[in-house]
Symmetry: C2
Subunit: 151 residues, 2 copies
């Protein structure tokens, strides 16, 4: 492949990823608006809902940050907004007071039941519910492993 061709935008996997990611987020927006959440807030809630069933030893900001690959600079204000919405409780850890432990409120736990139907509608609209999407997931897994492992 020539140098010029290699630099063409359409050839750039990076741009496709970036564009596809933003397109998916745009697709989620109407559904999330009806829940009063932004997309990163929704991802944080997904993790907290998972943790309701199998909580880690320390459900802290750090643990959430590792799960989402986001740092405290992003998560602290985001979690304060979720707290302000009455969905999440933040509490200083004991005995380690550096940690902030996260827990769902009743409203936060209840919100999960409203997500399923909306998500199905979106997946259906995006044509994602069946077929070759498993392969895409696996390739993204591989890409992530490459980038976080060797990068």
């Amino acid at each position: 492949m020539s140098e010029d061709a290699a630099l063409r935008l359409d050839e750039q996997l990076c741009f496709k990823l970036y564009a596809a990611s933003r397109a998916v987020i745009r697709g989620y927006r109407p559904m999330l608006e009806s829940l009063g959440l932004t997309y990163p807030q929704y991802l944080a809630m997904l993790v907290l809902w998972e943790w309701r069933d199998a909580p880690p030893a320390h459900p802290t900001v750090k643990a959430l940050g590792e799960r989402l690959a986001l740092d405290s600079g992003t998560l602290t204000p985001l979690l304060k907004r979720l707290e302000h919405l009455g969905l999440v409780q933040r509490q200083r850890g004991r005995p380690d007071e550096r940690e902030v432990h996260l827990a769902l409120t009743e409203a936060g736990a209840a919100l999960r039941d409203r997500v399923g139907p909306l998500r199905d509608a979106l997946m259906c609209r995006a044509g994602l519910e069946r077929g070759g999407l498993g392969a895409l997931r696996e390739q993204l897994d591989g890409l992530l492993a490459q980038l976080t492992g060797s990068g």
Copy 2:
């Protein structure tokens, strides 16, 4: 698939896309820092470099926005930064003074020569240069078509 499983974060294609996209951008960062560009600025430059060879009828903010799926709210300040860096010229269109036409400066055009080697290094590090990534690209194409077509 059960409802709970469907909501598991790992199953969410949306999260994988989001995480992979950010990981790729993180990977590009050191290379782009040496060029003095952010990632969206780099994408804009890619388009302008392409247009140097085959410019559209109107290389305007609108045309760039359609190429990158970004609106003027994002592009106007971004392009002002590129102008301030001396890489891009912005000029009100004639005869239509609503349009803003974009052109590379000499420095902006010259910057392209510094990208190739750096990009190769990154692609290599990410294991992206050959092999099964074409399939990933195609699947992202399909996903984008689904989301922008029917969404």
